[in-house]
Chain length 137, copies 3
Amino acid sequence: MSRQQTLRITTGGRGMTDITAHVEEVARAGGAASGVVHVFVRHTSCSLTITENADPDVRRDLETLATRWAPDGDPAYRHRNEGDDDMAAHARSVLAGSSVTVPLNAGRLLLGTWQGIYLWEHRKHAQTREVVVTLLG
Amino acid sequence: MSRQQTLRITTGGRGMTDITAHVEEVARAGGAASGVVHVFVRHTSCSLTITENADPDVRRDLETLATRWAPDGDPAYRHRNEGDDDMAAHARSVLAGSSVTVPLNAGRLLLGTWQGIYLWEHRKHAQTREVVVTLLG
Amino acid sequence: MSRQQTLRITTGGRGMTDITAHVEEVARAGGAASGVVHVFVRHTSCSLTITENADPDVRRDLETLATRWAPDGDPAYRHRNEGDDDMAAHARSVLAGSSVTVPLNAGRLLLGTWQGIYLWEHRKHAQTREVVVTLLG
């Protein structure tokens, strides 16, 4: 069994967008499948990540740390084609990853209570991002 | 084919617990399946990671580096609900990830000789963690 | 459906090798399958990562950042068996990960235009690396 759907998500620039409900909807539409849901972003300057869904300060603090892991406009960068946030975005994408996979049981995601699936936009300006959701069972 | 089992692992606080044998046991119970094994942790303050299984100093040095990647009690953090290690644990979880997937051949994990699967506890105190193992073939 | 193949890739020491074409070849050989392709490296001192395939400066800048994330020969390391780049390589492997998964549609990888799949060698000297590609559909 496999079932695949592409979502288009418009981000508001740097920050996280909770896409858990979108992924759950694809899972439900797949019937009572068990296996895993694979979520993949077709870009190299944003990520998919799983993190705490309760206190928004967690996402805020992750931004603070990410600017240390990959500073904007670092003088050591050679890749600067699209501005100060360009290379930093690629580096964040490598660190946080391009996909997440979540176990699926009878059509229901087995996320923990505090886990949400986030599209993490690493560019400063709003973008439309393609996210491919695949059910594997 | 998909087969799913939830393990409960009690950690001893910050540090890595080798869960390779547990995952192998689920794989064996699934018969001679080929495909991949997906391992997922239902929490946002610990990780699953694959690293060297020989010299324990590797895991010790990873702790040293992790305290630089996400320092405990950093003055910049706003999220401090559960203590100094709270936000650091969420950040480590984003960096090291919530799941690993390993190829499976005829019921056997295709790990390299030096690879082990570790539950990496990021909180300072012992926790009981739910780990979902799914065989996909 | 699952189909599995092991590739042997010789790297030129630290740096990234584009293996996208190799993974596409395995996908094509699998017929018109839909699902995901899972790519896994059987080592703890190199990674698989997805990043920009256009400007080589992106890969160069990622090396620059990686030497900050995990400096070679850091005085705090205890694991030094195989030289200055040994522990740094394990740490990079944890950060960038040991596997990537990409959605597959009718035998075609659903990578974005600018995404390439790279074997990221973290050791300074050339190595031969085993990469297991599994099609799941």
